[in-house]
């Protein structure tokens, strides 16, 4: 019964990991050289969305709780960062203190907002979470009076970048003979955190907790009758998802240097949900893929201007106007073609140790 190590051919696996690591390390330089600096920035943004999508995946993909207000936690993380590291209140606390604080606070809110929704199922849950998201957005828009908390629709400006001592991620640095710009350095920071989030997601998925979440998704009543405290585990899913959302929010605020309620509307929640469903709900590679594709696709569709010029000799429709239309078409087409997502969970990852019982 005790398992013998089953890695028959260890070299290929390490080779794959090595190549992947090398590829990820070089990616920003390749992108910079091939597509330009603005695409490195997009890459950073894509990493943020991977984080958000993985967070929401815990709630929707694992526990099956359709949450349409997820962006509220993203916003919370962002505003906490902005309050504590910008001229708005004159506070400039270090990022390593604020990021965990924002994430924890978002997690706490996840529990607070989750509690009243525990009895709701399916679409009712969706509409209530959506309501929460809208309420928070409206508060962001209007809490500039009587006390100016959010600065209203103008948002908060001049937010500190991630900075350690004199080392700021907003300026270029010369290291090992190369010049790393802000967006490059940000990429590595985000990549590191994304890897951590992936690691946590994977470990949770393959654990007592993860199994309990999936059981709740599959059949809540049977799950309860099988000994799962559905209330606590749902709240845990909300809290974990919200924590990742809050973390991403803080990073977003530091990265942009500016936040406003505009960035946290319902469409944003819907986008993150689309990433999960389009990629493959509950399946980490699918979710990552969905997040990257949906972040980059609208930008890539800007190139339709060039296509129009080569095809017709002139631009008929402003590509900026066309891209969202094509984006919608892509959403519909992908779902019709692959209803379970681009990379659906091949649920049957063969569990080596269990192949022989």
């Amino acid at each position: 019964m005790s398992s013998v190590p089953k890695l028959n051919k260890p070299q290929p696996r390490w080779l794959v990991f090595g190549l992947l690591a090398l590829g990820l390390a070089l990616l920003p330089f390749l992108v910079d050289a091939g597509l330009g600096r603005s695409w490195v920035r997009l890459l950073d943004l894509a990493l943020l969305y991977v984080m958000l999508a993985l967070g929401l995946n815990i709630v929707v993909g694992y526990a099956g709780l359709l949450d349409l207000g997820y962006v509220a936690f993203y916003a919370l993380g962002a505003y906490v960062y902005a309050w504590l590291a910008s001229p708005h209140f004159g506070l400039h606390l270090p990022f390593w203190a604020i990021l965990p604080l924002g994430a924890a606070l978002a997690g706490l809110f996840g529990v607070l907002l989750g509690t009243p929704t525990l009895r709701l199922r399916g679409d009712y849950l969706a509409i209530v979470t959506l309501g929460f998201g809208e309420i928070i957005r409206i508060f962001m828009n209007n809490l500039n009076a009587p006390v100016n908390l959010t600065n209203g629709p103008q948002g908060i400006n001049l937010i500190d970048p991630v900075r350690l001592g004199e080392f700021s991620l907003s300026q270029p640095h010369a290291l090992f003979g190369y010049t790393f710009t802000g967006v490059h350095l940000t990429y590595y920071l985000f990549l590191l955190l994304v890897l951590a989030v992936i690691f946590i997601s994977m470990r949770l998925e393959d654990s007592r907790i993860g199994r309990a979440w999936v059981a709740i998704r599959e059949d809540e009543i049977a799950a309860a009758a099988t000994g799962i405290n559905t209330r606590n585990l749902k709240l845990l899913a909300f809290a974990m998802g919200a924590t990742f959302g809050g973390l991403a929010g803080g990073l977003f605020a530091s990265f942009q240097g500016f936040i406003s309620p505009e960035s946290f509307n319902l469409m944003e929640s819907i986008m993150i949900l689309c990433m999960i469903v389009l990629g493959g709900m509950g399946h980490i590679p699918g979710v990552i893929f969905g997040a990257v594709v949906l972040t980059l696709l609208p930008e890539a569709l800007r190139y339709t201007g060039d296509w129009q010029r080569t095809l017709f000799g002139q631009i008929y429709i402003d590509p900026a106007d066309l891209r969202m239309l094509l984006f919608g078409v892509a959403l519909v087409a992908v779902m019709l073609y692959r209803p379970a997502g681009m990379i659906p969970s091949a649920r049957r990852r063969q569990e080596f140790a269990d192949a022989k019982g």
Binding site: I127, F132, E134, I221, C274, L278, G328, L331
Partner: protein, 309 residues
């Protein structure tokens, strides 16, 4: 007193429009258990198409009576929206009837994005004014005022809702719809052409949405390619508030939401001692929605389904 009555009138008018849109959500949900996310966009399309017709006619034949021009706008907008509803059902929802639950929700979102952007490409990003073709009369009742447009909206909405109830309760189609909502499988075994029923549901819902779209643009005096989003959101909330899948619930929920919003906007300042202004009216609506659902998880008129174990 006059403020109270004024808010009551405003709330009822707004609420009856919400109710019309909510009916579309609730009918589709009742039969397919699908949030037809694109329904708000159909309402927007109704407003845009009718405004295009009305604008053109008002320019081409300035002497024509306003009611006639409005009628022409409706006469074009309703079939266009019906065709749209039919098309969306056929292309985006029907192929996914047996797919994972969230897949049709994503196509629905995709369709809304498509409709929004088509509207934006055709009519541009600016607000489109509703031409002053309607009688601008206002009537004083006990210190509150109600306009001809408001009266027309209320009367028309009530008539449409009564007709819908008659159709659902008395006709063959209505019976087939109710049967399909109970169980698609059994209905089809009993000889109901389920695909036809579902298509009809979309067509009827879209026609209501077209009328509601015209009403909204007439009421606010403008239309915009993005107007469907918030309107749809509120109408869906209204449907959930009333108990989704239930026609009476959608009407009640719509009216309640309209009243909550208008009273919320009117009184929230007084209630909070000026701390919160009228821009919090949406918060108010959502708070009520959440409170209702937390205490009555299936909405006001929703069946309380005992969980079958």
């Amino acid at each position: 007193m006059d403020i109270f009555l004024q808010q009551l009138i405003n709330g009822l008018v707004l609420g009856s429009v919400y109710a019309l849109v909510a009916l579309g959500y609730t009918m589709v949900y009742g039969i397919l258990e699908l949030i037809n996310f694109a329904h708000g966009e159909i309402t927007m399309m109704g407003a845009m198409v009718s405004l295009a017709v009305i604008g053109a006619l008002a320019l081409a034949a300035p002497g024509l009576p306003g009611v006639l021009i409005l009628g022409a706008g409706l006469a074009v907008a309703i079939p266009v929206c019906m065709a749209l509803g039919l098309l969306i059902e056929r292309v985006a929802y029907r192929p996914l009837r047996h797919a994972p639950r969230l897949a049709p929700l994503i196509t629905a979102i995709g369709v809304s994005i498509i409709l929004q952007n088509i509207a934006m490409l055709i009519w541009g990003k600016q607000y489109i004014p509703f031409p002053a073709i309607l009688p601008q009369g206002r009537h004083e009742i006990l210190g509150a005022s109600i306009s001809d447009t408001q009266i027309a909206i209320l009367v028309l909405a009530v008539l449409i809702m009564l007709t819908l109830i008659l159709v659902v309760q008395k006709t063959r189609l209505g019976r087939a719809m109710r049967a399909t909502a109970q169980s698609r499988q059994v209905a089809s075994l009993m000889g109901v052409d389920v695909n036809r029923v579902i298509a009809s549901t979309f067509v009827i819902g879209s026609a209501l949405a077209a009328v509601a779209g015209v009403m909204v643009s007439a009421y606010y005096g403008l239309a915009h390619y993005y107007m469907g989003f918030l309107l749809g959101l509120k109408a869906f909330s209204a449907a959930v508030l009333g108990g989704i899948g239930n026609l009476g619930g959608a009407m009640l929920g719509g009216l309640l939401l309209g009243l909550i919003e208008s009273f919320g906007a009117g009184y929230i300042g007084d209630l909070t001692g000026g701390f919160l202004g009228s821009h919090y009216q949406d918060v108010f609506a959502f708070f009520v929605l959440i409170a209702v659902l937390v205490f009555r998880p299936s909405g006001l008129l929703g069946a309380r389904v005992v969980e079958r174990a």
